[in-house]
Assembly symmetry: C2
DNA sequence: CTGAAAGCGCTTACAG
DNA sequence: CTGAAAGCGCTTACAG
């Protein structure tokens, strides 16, 4: 199937008998060009349905108006809402977005980052894989391109980072559980020192401390690859403890939902016997019965904010060496539903 | 913050005292170049961490190895799995992917398609918005770029289309309901003639016909913007019918889940009194109680297949005018769960 | 085996 | 007000 080739400045110039320069300038509304010429050129361009070749433009200015995004997994609902935030903001700013997945593999992540470099994107938005240990690779990227971390971050990388206020959010969740009378509050968290898990764990500890509730090591459950199934397993263990918890705070919704499923199966009353709170307000949280109390993370806003800071970095003159990286916390909010609602 | 500029062929050439041409050829392992020279150049390139500027390469060959994807909404789980299929296959083929959302707006869709053109993508993967009426815009794109439709398609657009075998899938679902003894089977479908909704409706009608079950207009429910809430509303109406349905086939999972919620609320036994079957095997379907019977749509495979056909079209010599568009049906499968499991 | 030159489509400093 | 020329980084037909 033959495809029409794109109209170029050259063709317009030839048809009109102007030089390429004049046509280019006319189309960019340059002061030097007479109104008459502009009119003629614009008219012709429209007639031929001229579209500037962004490549040539970008290639020349080495500003492609394209940004690269690397996330562990696109099809996680929360991730996809962050990407929507990125896409929406990108559009208003005239940027295109190349998306890629690292699938939680460090090698893949590096490979994707290098592709982004080769592609000469203007900047990179990165959400780290679990166990990104070798920071050096990322520092190398940082030497060459503006880069902003979001959601899955790592404090020792010297760049702007956009995160949820995980510690505060967890604190609020625990405080809420205490307020409804719970004292033996279990936490389901990740083993590896993921930034988010650690933040939430800190919030948990702080809340217990502030309310003078002793910490019971038996109520601290850690797991790798946190998931619904892991939530089920941990809940199974939790309910067989001699001294059962009276509440479970899981650091992800799916883990919390796994817990609810087990509690339901064992006819343990939620929230009376054991209350449950999750994290991230996934769509699942209103499907499960009882509906899950959780922390709402504004994914769209996180994505948008990350891109906002990235574009700022891209578009400012990079001639000052002062380190402007900062950590931006996005406010989340606790949503109380039936799984922890006691009057 | 100053960024390192990228190493170019020119720099390598200067350092080594070769011409740019020689360096270029050495790096591309051209036969003309002596092994010795190749070794020197490769060594230096590695040392300087040279990365070809894909832009310059692509710009010259007008083959950017980049494809554009336009979908109504990225954060729909099924959509995101299709995109994952696209990303994975793109990677194996050395393509990058620009993603954008039409948000179910025709204007936005056109705008996105035009951006893709300007960007000179090698090809476009499109999943249509609801009510894409003006086919002309899409035909114009089709004149200029290879384009493949997937999932949300429209038969009158002359291009390759990748779809689910919706009619057969719906047929299987209805047949299954008949097999467990159901006779008054309601369908919850879309009002507007969306391709997918129509296909599924056809399957429904055919199954009833094949099994000599009379069609009852009262059991055919149509709605715009099908959703969980709409599922609730329709179910509410359905259960107040003088002659209640004994099964509900909803053409989306969320709609089916809305129905289940209402049935649960009214203490109607699922599946004994009313069985429910959904469509698409969203993650929700195993969260809801009872777990939802549904049609599994292999999103990953659909995405991959769409890209496969697109790349084929991109990479074949386009000098033959013969119309090679085809419609490819991807096989889905019925998953029976508790919402329709009767021994 | 290697190099000089043209060209992909565009922008812009320099001349007139 | 307009044009010729250089250049962004690369590849490749043409010459030697």
């Amino acid at each position: 199937m033959k495809k029409k080739s794109n109209v170029t400045l050259k063709e317009i110039a030839k048809i009109l008998g102007f030089s390429i320069s004049t046509v280019s300038r006319a189309l960019r509304d340059h002061v030097d060009i007479s109104d008459e010429t502009k009119a003629i050129v614009e008219q012709k361009a429209k007639e031929l349905n001229y579209m500037p070749n962004m490549f040539a433009q970008g290639f020349r200015s080495s500003r492609m108006h394209i940004i690269g995004v690397v996330v562990p997994k696109l099809s996680h609902y929360f991730t996809s809402t962050m990407i929507e935030g990125i896409l929406d903001y990108a559009e208003t700013k005239g940027y295109r977005v190349i998306v890629s997945e690292s699938k939680n593999s460090v090698e893949k992540q590096n490979q994707m980052l290098n592709t982004m470099l080769q592609f000469n994107v203007d900047g990179i938005l990165l959400s780290l894989t679990r166990k990104t240990a070798n920071v050096q690779d990322i520092l190398n990227i940082l030497d060459r391109k503006p880069l902003v971390l979001f959601d899955k971050v790592m404090s020792k990388i010297p760049c702007t980072q956009i995160i949820i206020d995980g510690k505060q959010a967890a604190y609020n969740a625990i405080e809420h559980l205490i307020n409804i009378g719970k004292r033996r509050i279990a936490i389901f968290k990740e083993t590896e020192n993921s930034f988010n898990s650690e933040q939430r764990f800190e919030g948990y500890l702080k809340a217990l401390k502030d309310y003078n509730i002793p910490i019971d090591e038996k109520l601290i459950f850690s797991t790798e690859d946190i998931s619904l199934e892991k939530g089920e397993q941990l809940a199974q263990i939790a309910i067989t403890l001699k001294q059962r918890p009276d509440a479970i705070f899981a650091i992800t919704d799916s883990c919390a939902i796994g817990a609810i499923k087990i509690l339901n199966k064992n006819n343990i009353k939620i929230p009376e016997e054991i209350a449950v709170v999750g994290f991230s307000n996934s769509a699942h949280s209103t499907i499960i019965e009882p509906n899950l109390s959780t922390i709402n993370q504004p994914g769209h806003l996180i994505g948008k904010t990350a891109l906002k800071y990235l574009i700022e970095e891209i578009e400012t003159d990079n001639n000052n060496d002062f380190q402007s990286s900062k950590t931006v916390e996005i406010k989340s909010s606790l949503i109380v539903r039936d799984s922890s609602f006691i009057v």
